[in-house]
Symmetry: C2
């Protein structure tokens, strides 16, 4: 597939690398591509600079938001939640009729750590994005786990789940095929229903943060264990 | 132990029955004990009236809130979240210095189904209760599962977890011993830290509700699957 990643941070890099490794044609969008590609400051989370990362991932085209191809099969929103709508607005009309996989969370760091959510309970970031881009087919997923687990489910042994929310069945089917491509098993993928169910997964962030603190690492995931 | 259950609905009945079966001395508090005991209307969730339930559980003393013993080892808040503080106020000073296990969720049905939460994100019902009764040792738990699973963890096969939040270590230890008494395994019990972590478990309600709808039954639970 032809895939665009909106955002160039750790999450965007991790998803982009994996999808390119799987043979997809991958573009990465940023506000100022030349500035991003020349960055030599080390990302505290990944331990390397964007420039170093890109030199190891030369097959991925890093372009300005406005230069992303308009015919990608799937667009990923991998920006910080607080910046998502602004960034997606710079991608613009290209999103019309396209699949937009939103992996962001509405984290609010304005009161320090741990972050709270800037939207929750009766609305969600996924719904805000769907309302802002009504012609896009928004699929909310991946937001309940660390990015390394998104692209390598075998990092956690045994059963664990990835949730999927969205209004468009065809868009969810396409994303599900990508999930299987990555290595997610059919029985690990839980379709929660329409985009309003993004409220449910975004509101799992506080428990995720608690568990991250408790475990001291992010190699864990939620498994829904149900009686038959 | 001597145990008081505040609330006489399905959750209170289920916890009370189990603890009495395990040999504890169980009291149940309600606004008007005579009225509650004479109720013959069938509870839609349990399929029986309070009167019928009590005739099968004669060993449990049903009394007015104000007549609950003041020397119980553990008090359970099993009222609806919206009524919890009013009900606990009627229990009053007896809670000072005592363990108060809060199993309620701050469900807001004012906009119909599914319910939203009347407090979340930067506060929680567990914290509201702790602030209202600063001398009580509030332990938040059991609020991420159906009541039948609370008292019978074997209803769900395989690994699954019960979360515990609270400021007082001794209170959490006493509650943990009750959990083990009920049948919860040491490795199933996850202590999340202080009472502010009740935000995290209360905010799991939306995903619980989504999964309840998806499964069509409530015999499921969350398992945290972590890499070693």
């Amino acid at each position: 597939m032809k895939i665009a990643i909106v955002g160039t941070g750790m999450v965007g890099q991790t998803i982009a690398s994996k999808l390119e490794e799987l043979g997809h044609e991958v573009y990465m969008g940023t506000r100022n591509a030349n500035e991003t590609k020349s960055r030599t400051d080390v990302n505290q989370m990944t331990g390397k600079s964007f420039s170093d990362w890109h030199s190891e991932n030369k097959g991925i085209s890093v372009v300005n938001f406005s230069d992303l191809p308009s015919d990608c099969d799937v667009y990923f929103n991998a920006t910080h939640g607080a910046n998502s709508i602004d960034a997606l607005n710079m991608v613009g009309d290209k999103l019309n009729g396209r699949i937009l996989v939103d992996v962001a969370n509405p984290l609010d760091f304005s009161n320090g750590m741990p972050p709270s959510l800037f939207v929750c309970n009766t609305d969600s970031l996924g719904e805000q994005i769907q309302r802002t881009f009504p012609e896009a087919h928004v699929v909310k997923s991946f937001n309940t786990m660390n990015c390394y687990l998104m692209v390598n489910p075998s990092l956690v042994q045994g059963d664990h789940n990835v949730f999927v929310s969205g209004n468009d069945e065809s868009a969810k089917n396409t994303f599900t095929s990508l999930l299987k491509d990555i290595g997610w098993g059919e029985n690990q993928i839980l379709d929660l229903g329409d985009i309003t169910s993004a409220r449910a997964t975004e509101m799992m962030l506080p428990i995720w943060l608690q568990l991250w603190g408790k475990h001291g690492h992010a190699n864990f995931n939620f498994n829904i264990n149900a009686a038959n």
